[in-house]
Structures are given as structure tokens and as C-alpha cells.
Amino acid sequence: MMTHLPHHRVSPAQVPGLPLRAGLGLKSEHFIEVLETRPDLGFFEVHAENFMVAGGPFHHYLGLIREQYPLSLHGVGLSIGGEGPLNGAHLARLATLIERYQPQAFSEHLAWSSHGPVFLNDLLPLAYDVTTLNRVCAHIDQVQSTLKRPMLLENPSTYLLFQRSTLDETDFISEIIRRTGCGLLLDVNNVYVSCINHQRDPLAYINALPLHAVGEIHLAGFAEDSDSLGDRLLIDDHGAPIDNAVWQLYEQVLARTGPVATLIERDNQVPAFSVLQAEAQQAERHLLQVMA
């Protein structure tokens, strides 16, 4: 006999793709609080490299949290923009993590961080020319074919420009997305930081991007310095609350993209979990406005 199945919600951790909600970066100091309080958040994001360890508490807690929440895996060490070949061992470790945790999204940066044997632990800038473009596209093809899924590429925050560059950053990114089919992780703070540093209009930069490809948004805080002329030099340090100018730009982005999964990034001077949650709630209010 056919019974009418009750209409039940699928566990949020099983939905493919990140939900159109706000999420937080997951810090090890918050593992237990998250499990005990089960905060109402759309997803968590982790830095892939932190979980490239054999076992122990990191895997224990991430496994438990993953059962409850969608997950975004964010790489910071693949050096996609590097002049040398991709680190095959690192790519294999990423594949293992993805297999284990089945994240709803995997993202990496338009930057380089390794050169020869040295890992510099920073997201370093690229000269935008055809040579670099071909290399980055080949690397992304390799990542996507190894991981058997599309990745999201994050726009960078930069402090310098290269004389060698022949393409605008937005054209460079657009062409990568067109050629490789990867998505865009639009870091609105990076847009603001780079545009102030290079005297560009942030909204014009946003408008020049292929916004249809945006699969996730990052919001973060910056630090403020000045250069040799005393001009504002913004530093993407993920160590402060999100600036009002970045919230405004976020609103303008959402007006163009509609709702997009949005991450609050905080990696330095990490405040109490409730402070981060309040920022996530603020992002969700913006998301709700464009859902109507």
C-alpha cells in the first residue's frame, strides 16, 4: 500500500551547494561552543590546510560539526598563480579532504604563495598578462579535473601593480571564468581594499566582473596604513569588524546578484563567537532584503 510520505526537510548538511545564507569561518577555539550551542548559521568555512593532519581533535570536531552544517572548504596554500607547476601532493591532500567531508563548495585564491621549495604563507600578487592567464587557466583546469568539481576563485586584495600587466584585473578574472568554467568567490572587502589602494571605483570594478558566476561572497575587516605619499593604504588583515563602506558595497553587489552565500571572515584578533554571529545576522538581513 502506498503511504503518503510526510513532507520532511532534508538535513541542511546534505543539500548540494551552499545555502543562500550567512556563514562563519570555523576557528578551533569555537569548536566546542558551536557543538554545544548549535548557532543558527547557514554554513561554516574552514581553511583546508588546517585540516591536513592525520587525526586528533581537529578531525573529531569538524566531523561532528559537518553533520550539522553545510561546509565550505577554503584553500590558502595551493598557489594557483605560481610560476611553477601545482604541488601535486597538496592537490592530492585536497582531494582526500573533499572526499572525507563532502563540502558544498571549494575555493582558492587568484594569487601565488609558493616559489621553488619555499612557501611564503601570503597571498602574493600576479602580473596580468597572457602568459599568466594561460598558466592560471591550466592550473584551474588541473584542480577541477583532479577534484572532479568546479572551484570558486577569489579575487585578490593587492598593494602594488606590475608594469608587465597588459590586462585589467577584472578582464583577467572574467577570461579565467569564461575559459575554465570556475565560479567566482567575490571578496567584497578585497574589492574595496584594492580599489582604494589603486584609486579605482569599487562599483565600476564590481560591474566589470562576471557577476552571474558568483558562488560565494566574503566579507571581512581591514587595517589602515599609509604609503610614502601619505595616501590611504588598506591592508586586508581579517582582524577587524567589517567596515561600513564594505557593508554598503555588499548591498550594491546583492542588488546585482541576488542572494549569495556570504561568509564573515575573521582570522586575527578573533572576538567572542557572539560578536561574529552578530555580523552574520547583519549579512542575513541584507540577504533577506534581496530575496523578496
Binding site: 590546510e49 588546517n50 591536513m52 593532519v53 592525520a54 587525526g55 586528533g56 581533535p57 581537529f58 578531525h59 573529531h60 590558502v76 596554500g77 595551493l78 598557489s79 605560481g82 610560476e83 604541488n87 597538496h90 601565488w112 604563495s113 609558493s114 616559489h115 621553488g116 621549495p117 619555499v118 612557501f119 611564503l120 604563507n121 601570503d122 602574493l124 600578487p125 602580473a127 598593494y159 602594488l160 601593480l161 606590475f162 608594469q163 608587465r164 589602494n197 589603486h198 584609486q199 579605482r200 596604513d225 604609503d227 610614502s228 605619499l229 595616501d231 593604504l233 591592508i235
Partner: protein
């Protein structure tokens, strides 16, 4: 020279410099912009070491630690994107670092911390259940230790120094000049450090080399006539440090 090669060289150079071919749109000196990258690279790595080695830092103070870590970063930048492994050679660097000689136990405190990190992230391998170990154990047994298990033999009271820095407030008088061994392991999710005698260090190291139990006991007694097999084995068994028992007699 490639763009990234020049950029990398300038990031790691001893003196602040700026690679060729970079500029600022407002005409500012590119060196003032490049300094951000240089500072990011150095301060992030130094901070990573300072966070990883809190007791070592406390023993010499922030200023000394940062200067020493800065030299280490320049001499030995990371060679892997896995930063949890960065600094595994810091203890050896400290050992040879002339200005740190006045704190002779500094390197061993750093070694102990490294073993702690190693234990924290070691593979999850189930332990053999305790009654089975006791039932099957004999002189020919070869005990497989959990990958989290490590020992440190130190001419200083490294474990006591370490423990004294785990609590806030006044540090009770510690005599650092007493040789002390350490056993580091992870029990469940918690890493534990035990002060053990030199016989126990020799015993555990011998087991780690897959030598038979009776051979391990011989090594332990050579190291210290006061070695207490019952106590040492009890410590390992009760903390789930044994994952497998091999009864084969080697040919």
C-alpha cells in the same frame, strides 16, 4: 630572473628592498607598498611560531623570542603549505643560537612542545583493549605503540619547567638542573605529558624500534637500575598507547 623569483628574493632578503617592475597608481614609492607584503610574510610566520611555542616565548620574553624567530624565519622559511609542521627545526636552531645559551633548557622545552603538536594531530588508531594486552603479554611480545607516543630525554627538568608555565601566577621554585625524561601521548582528545625516568625513556624507545619486551626491559635497566616495568607498562596500557601485539619470535 622571473617576476616571482625577484619578488620572493626581496621578501626574504635581510635588508628591506623592492623588486623591479612594480609601481603604485598614485605614484607613491613602490617600496612603501612592497613593505606590506614583506611585513605580512615575516610577521605571520613569527606570530605562528610565537603562538606555537608559548612557554619558550615566556622563558625568554616577547622581544627576545620575536628577534630569534625573525632570524629563524629568514634562515628557514616554510617548505610546505602545512603550517602546523612549521618550526619543527626551531629547537635545533635554538640549541645552536648563541644568545640563547644562558637558558640552556630552552631547546628542550621547544622539543617538548613540538612532540605535543605531533601527538595532537597524530592519526586516530584504535588501541588494543586493556585486558587483551595483559592476557597476551610475554617476554617475546613486540608492542606497537600508538603514533602519538613520543619520548624526550633531557638533561634538564623540562617537564617540570613546562608544567610550571601552564598555570597563571607565581612559578614555584623549579630546579631546572635535574635530568628528566618525558612521555608525550594523546589520550582520547587530550595530549598528556608525563615526567618519566631514563629507564622508562629507554624502554619506550626500544618498544618503538619493535624490539621484544624482554629486550626493552634490558635497555631500560641498563639506563636506570630503578626502572619499574609494572609502572611504565601500566602508564602505556592505561592511556591506550598500545595498538597491536605481535607474538612472532624473530628468526
Amino acid at each position: 630572473m622571473s617576476t616571482q623569483h625577484a619578488f620572493c628574493a626581496a621578501l626574504l632578503a635581510h635588508e628591506p628592498s623592492c623588486p623591479e617592475g612594480v609601481f603604485s597608481s598614485n605614484g607613491a614609492d613602490p617600496a612603501s607598498r612592497f613593505a606590506v607584503y614583506r611585513n605580512n610574510v615575516h610577521s605571520a610566520l613569527i606570530n605562528a611560531l610565537a603562538t606555537s611555542y608559548p612557554v619558550t616565548r615566556q622563558l625568554v620574553g616577547d622581544e627576545f623570542f620575536h628577534a630569534m624567530a625573525g632570524l629563524y624565519v629568514q634562515a628557514y622559511p616554510p617548505e610546505s603549505p602545512l603550517l602546523s609542521e612549521y618550526g619543527s627545526t626551531l629547537a635545533d636552531f635554538i640549541q645552536a643560537f648563541e644568545p640563547a645559551q644562558s637558558v640552556p633548557y630552552l631547546a628542550d622545552v621547544a622539543r617538548l612542545k613540538r612532540l605535543r603538536v605531533r601527538a595532537y594531530h597524530a592519526a586516530d588508531i584504535p588501541a588494543l583493549d586493556q585486558p587483551r594486552v595483559l592476557e597476551q603479554l610475554n617476554g617475546q611480545s613486540r608492542l606497537h605503540l600508538h603514533p602519538c607516543v613520543a619520548t624526550l630525554h633531557s638533561p634538564y627538568a623540562t617537564v617540570t619547567i613546562w608544567a610550571a608555565h601552564q598555570t597563571e601566577g607565581a612559578i614555584a621554585s623549579v630546579n631546572p638542573w635535574q635530568a628528566q625524561g618525558a612521555l608525550v601521548l594523546r589520550h582520547g582528545l587530550a595530549v598528556k605529558i608525563f615526567g618519566i625516568d631514563s629507564g622508562s625513556v629507554a624502554f619506550i624507545n626500544s618498544l618503538g624500534r619493535s624490539e621484544a619486551l624482554e629486550t626493552a626491559v634490558e635497555h631500560a635497566l641498563e639506563a636506570s637500575s630503578e626502572f619499574d616495568l609494572h609502572q611504565c607498562l601500566g602508564l602505556l596500557i592505561s592511556h591506550d598507547a598500545i595498538t597491536h601485539l605481535e607474538q612472532k619470535v624473530s628468526p
